[in-house]
């Protein structure tokens, strides 16, 4: 998915390869790569190292592509696949806006390197509804006005669904505790809890 930049030999290759800890972590052969840089093999090598193959199922569709190993799952979704429903709120794993499901469990996509999802099934907010029919949690968020600006909403909803599936929605207090990783700066929290409580009590399949 990387756009191919023109070949431009340069001095920075050595430091680039040495300093990129992410590359070091996942590169195919880091020693060889650094050696290549020392020998000024350069952009071609970098381009090769910046590409790892990934095959991941997202919202029921399999995507097979080459990605920059530094790409987070969040950036893969937003920038490479243009699935912008998953939001970047901090990129540090502190706000929950980027919450998606990987193999059915809620994860922070900003702290997940996309390369580690090879072979996984990812569900994002775009994959939650059944066609035009909203997921019960989406409908409950609308009914209870569980948002204002809407930016944290996809993450809240993905977390809320997981919260019920995990069995962590048995009381308002428990919901509040297990939803506290999802920040809503507009502060619609009580409405979000109302929505989750209603879905939980309604017993619909989530």
């Amino acid at each position: 998915m990387n756009e191919q930049e023109p070949f431009c030999p340069n001095e920075s290759r050595r430091s680039f390869l040495k300093k990129s800890t992410v590359i070091t972590a996942v590169a195919l052969t880091p020693a060889a790569a650094i050696n290549a840089a020392n020998n000024h093999w350069d952009e071609h090598i970098a381009a090769a190292i910046e590409n790892v193959s990934l095959s991941v199922e997202i919202n029921g569709t399999r995507h097979t592509m080459d990605i920059d190993p530094r790409t987070s799952l969040l950036d893969l979704l937003r920038e490479n696949l243009h699935l912008t429903g998953t939001k970047k709120g901090c990129d540090y794993g502190q706000c929950g806006a980027c919450t998606v499901h990987v193999n059915g469990e809620r994860v922070l996509s900003c702290l997940t390197l996309a390369a580690t999802t090879d072979g996984s099934k990812v569900t994002t907010i775009e994959g939650l509804a059944n066609g035009d029919e909203l997921h019960p949690m989406q409908a409950a968020f609308i009914k209870h006005d569980g948002f204002q600006c809407g930016y944290c909403t996809p993450g809240q909803i993905m977390s809320a669904v997981a919260c019920i599936r995990e069995g962590h929605a048995s009381s308002r207090d428990q919901i509040r505790e297990y939803m506290s990783g999802n920040i809503c700066r507009c502060g619609a929290y009580p409405n979000i809890v109302d929505a989750i409580e209603e879905v939980q009590k309604g017993g619909q399949k989530v």
Binding site: T84, Y92, Q94, I142, C149, Y151, R185, Y189
Partner: protein, 746 residues
């Protein structure tokens, strides 16, 4: 004319954009798909004051995929930099806005000093880490208390002795001193950050050499358009600003910031659309904050609870290059009947970035001191704090003697006291306990100007009987699109399904910032004006084609259920048929509405009253807010669901302000220690209880023809002091420094 109305105004209708928001289909600024887009990542200063001696960009330039590294060394000249003072249509602090990449000067830590542009985000981010900078450092001053003696009189006050921040006296200066009962108290509130969930983001796209399109996270499309037209010296109409969905702002989108100019420079230099999204850490340095403020209140009262005098002094933080002031002292002059008032506002310039309005700007800060002091005085007098406030209720605005356009604050006392269970409160603190939990009740008032701006709306009635309305206004979360749809539906006498309201585009008719709680008050009347204009044209068209309406006047007809009737209802004609008969495809109008002379005759304010029940753990000092009642005298409520949510949100923000939010700066380096959401705590789910929202819901037709008074600010003003007063009632401990963390209570 009569239009059957109030069918949906006031109803708790679901949001018109709710489905987009819950499905991820709402598009925010960084999410527009443009061909050939490049990614920009900012490099920030690591020193606080000084000059850039050398900036080594070679490694970054040579990194794979890098298109450009731009700094003051090689940036193109921004033509408006030479003469730019303030920004049209935006809050104007005295001084000069930071000019990004203009010269080698560093004014604050985290200042953007270079931008790296690459074909992918990963490449840009990595290359940004390779930029090496050498500085000539100077010693910065960022410590507030140590520098308080260097506070200055604001420039505004020097130039205009009647300015809101100029020294003010009513009655005898420091008249409190003659009172039999006196208190003297000091309050401190730290810097607080807006931290909306959406990171400040922009896509800048030069469509041609002098035509610029911005997808920008701002609170005003047209103020942004005007600002950049001036900055780039191109005609306003050459700039288009799209801000349809804004992921929260709370004031930090009220002006334009250096990162926006950086993206525009970069887009021009690389000749590609450029996307720039701040990191969360950069959000703490580059886009404003609620300034640290020290306040001192001297208050005097008679034994029977009549205020004699209040002297309120303020020192607020600002930057070294701009003077930011806010309405911290307004409530002290207005909220209570009090013969002697003195207020003094001073500014402390430090080597930090410039503050900017944050929800309830000034008033939330001022209420924190004033409403705690009122509680302290009520305690000193051994009078119930509600009763004390009632004894000092002003029948008219004591600041200027003008009558209130409306003031239902006494209704709020009754409604709120009952809902929170005020009768359970003990006048003496520390009397209620449940095991280790000490229980207390507190309350506080807030007020904010019922502001109104000029606005215009385009209204279009189509041949199929549907209506489209457009306005340049943004919707940062309150539900403007929904409220305007309701107003248009009622005024056109159509079901909401037939009405579409579009916003967030500078090409649409005139509106300033979504700020100062003024949106419904401003855009609502313009929607009504557009509806009235369409109806007038419908009648004229019907009169030409249908005998029954020939020469009919508006007062002789009725508009109901999408049809035009004569008063006797002997016949009717649907809007669609009027258009068909007139051979018209549509009716297309642009109408405006603006405030008038009533603004000079009345004191116009919205009021809020917050009641809190808190539980404070006697051993750990942990405070749990058990219940909050939020009562608002905000005029007519257009949508009880979205307005109620806004009040709840103000309480959440106020809980953060009261108990958690605090910027800590390491004065050795002038850098924030709290620069992410793990260290800078905002309220989360576990912190916010059920909030009961009560609306007086009485229209104030003097403020605007809709009768609304605005809600966004009063939602938070008074929350922090209500909680502080409740903590005192629970524990007997009076904490005068925010946030009230457990260490202060044990």
């Amino acid at each position: 004319m009569s239009t059957k109305s109030n069918k949906v105004i006031g109803e708790p209708m679901n949001r018109v954009d709710g489905k987009l928001k819950v499905t991820g289909a709402a598009t925010y600024s960084a999410e527009y798909k443009l061909a050939n887009i490049a990614y920009a990542v900012l490099v920030s200063s690591t020193i606080t004051k000084g000059t850039i001696k050398n900036i080594d960009t070679k490694a970054a330039e040579n990194a794979p995929g890098v298109i450009a590294v731009i700094s003051h060394v090689n940036s193109i000249k921004v033509p408006g930099y030479q003469e730019q003072h303030g920004e049209p249509g935006q809050p104007k602090p005295a001084g000069r806005p930071l000019r990004v990449f203009y010269d080698n000067k560093v004014y604050f830590n985290g200042q953007p000093i270079a931008v790296v542009v690459a074909g992918t985000f990963e490449r840009a981010r990595y290359a940004a880490s390779l930029v090496k900078v050498q500085y000539d450092k100077e010693t910065p001053q960022t410590a507030f208390e140590e520098n308080m003696n260097k506070a200055i009189v604001p420039e505004q006050a020097k130039q205009n002795p009647k300015a809101a921040v100029a020294d003010y006296t009513r009655g005898t200066p420091d008249g409190y001193a003659s009172a039999p009962v006196k208190i003297e108290t000091e309050y401190f509130q730290p810097t607080e950050f807006h931290n909306p969930m959406e990171l400040q983001s922009i896509i800048a796209h030069w469509e041609t050499d002098d035509r610029l399109t911005l997808y920008d996270k701002v609170q005003g499309t047209q103020p942004t358009q005007q600002n950049f037209a001036r900055e780039w010296q191109i005609p306003v109409e050459n700039i288009k600003v799209i801000s349809t969905f804004v992921g929260g702002a709370f004031g930090n989108g009220l002006r334009n910031w250096p990162h926006e100019t950086a993206a525009i420079i970069a887009a021009k230099m690389v000749n590609r659309p450029v996307k720039l999204m701040l990191t969360r850490e950069q959000m703490f340095y580059m886009v404003g904050y609620r300034p640290r403020t020290w306040q001192k209140i001297n208050m005097g009262a008679t034994q029977d609870g009549k205020l004699v005098g209040i002297t309120h002094s303020v020192v607020g933080q600002t930057s070294s290059y701009e003077q930011f002031t806010e309405g911290t002292l307004q409530q002290t002059r207005t909220l209570y009947e009090c013969p002697n008032i003195s207020t003094r506002y001073r500014l402390l310039p430090l080597h930090v970035s410039t503050p900017t309005p944050m929800r309830g700007p000034g008033e939330a800060t001022g209420a924190w001191a004033l409403e705690c002091a009122i509680d302290e005085m009520a305690h000193a007098l051994n009078i119930d704090p509600i009763e004390f406030r009632l004894r000092n209720y002003p029948e008219k605005d004591p600041d200027n003697g003008k009558p209130w356009s409306s003031n239902y604050i006494r209704d709020c006392y009754k409604m709120g006291a009952e809902a929170i269970g005020w009768k359970n409160r003990k006048q003496q603190p520390g009397m209620l306990r449940d095991g280790d939990w000490q229980i207390g009740y507190g309350m506080a008032i807030g007020m904010f100007g019922a502001n109104r701006q000029a606005a215009k709306v385009r209204g279009k009635l189509y041949g199929d009987g549907t209506v489209l309305m457009q306005c340049a206004v943004t919707d940062i979360g309150p539900g403007t699109g929904t409220a305007m749809t309701q107003i248009a539906a009622d005024n056109m006498s159509l079901p909401v399904e037939k009405v579409t309201f579009q916003w967030g585009n500078s090409d649409f008719p005139e509106m300033g910032n979504q700020g100062g709680s003024s949106t419904v008050n401003s855009v609502g009347p313009a929607v009504v004006a557009a509806c009235n204009s369409i109806k007038q044209k419908l009648l004229e068209m019907a009169g030409r084609n249908k005998q029954e309406f020939a020469n009919a006047k508006m007062e002789e007809v009725m508009f109901e259920e999408g049809k035009l009737f004569p008063k006797d209802k002997s016949t009717s004609i649907a809007y669609e048929d009027i258009l068909k008969g007139g051979g018209a495809r549509d009716i297309d109008v642009i109408e405006g509405a603006r405030p008038g002379s009533e603004r000079q005759q009345y004191a116009m304010y919205a009021f809020s009253m917050h009641f809190a029940e808190v539980h404070v753990h006697a051993v750990t000092g942990q405070t749990k807010v058990a219940k909050v009642v939020a009562c608002a005298d905000a005029g007519r409520i257009i949508n009880k669901k979205t307005a109620g949510n806004q009040m709840i949100g103000g309480v959440s923000g106020g809980i953060g302000m009261a108990l958690e939010e605090e910027a800590v700066i390491d004065d050795r380096f002038g850098r924030y220690i709290t620069k992410d959401l793990a260290d800078y705590h905002v309220a989360v789910h576990a912190d916010v209880p059920k909030v009961e929202v009560l609306f007086v819901d009485k229209p104030d037709l003097l403020v605007d023809p809709i009768g609304s008074k605005g809600l966004g600010e009063i939602a938070i003003i008074g929350v922090a002091p209500a909680i502080a007063n409740a903590i005192f009632n629970a524990t007997g401990k009076r904490i005068r420094e925010l946030p009230i963390t457990p260490d202060k209570l044990i």
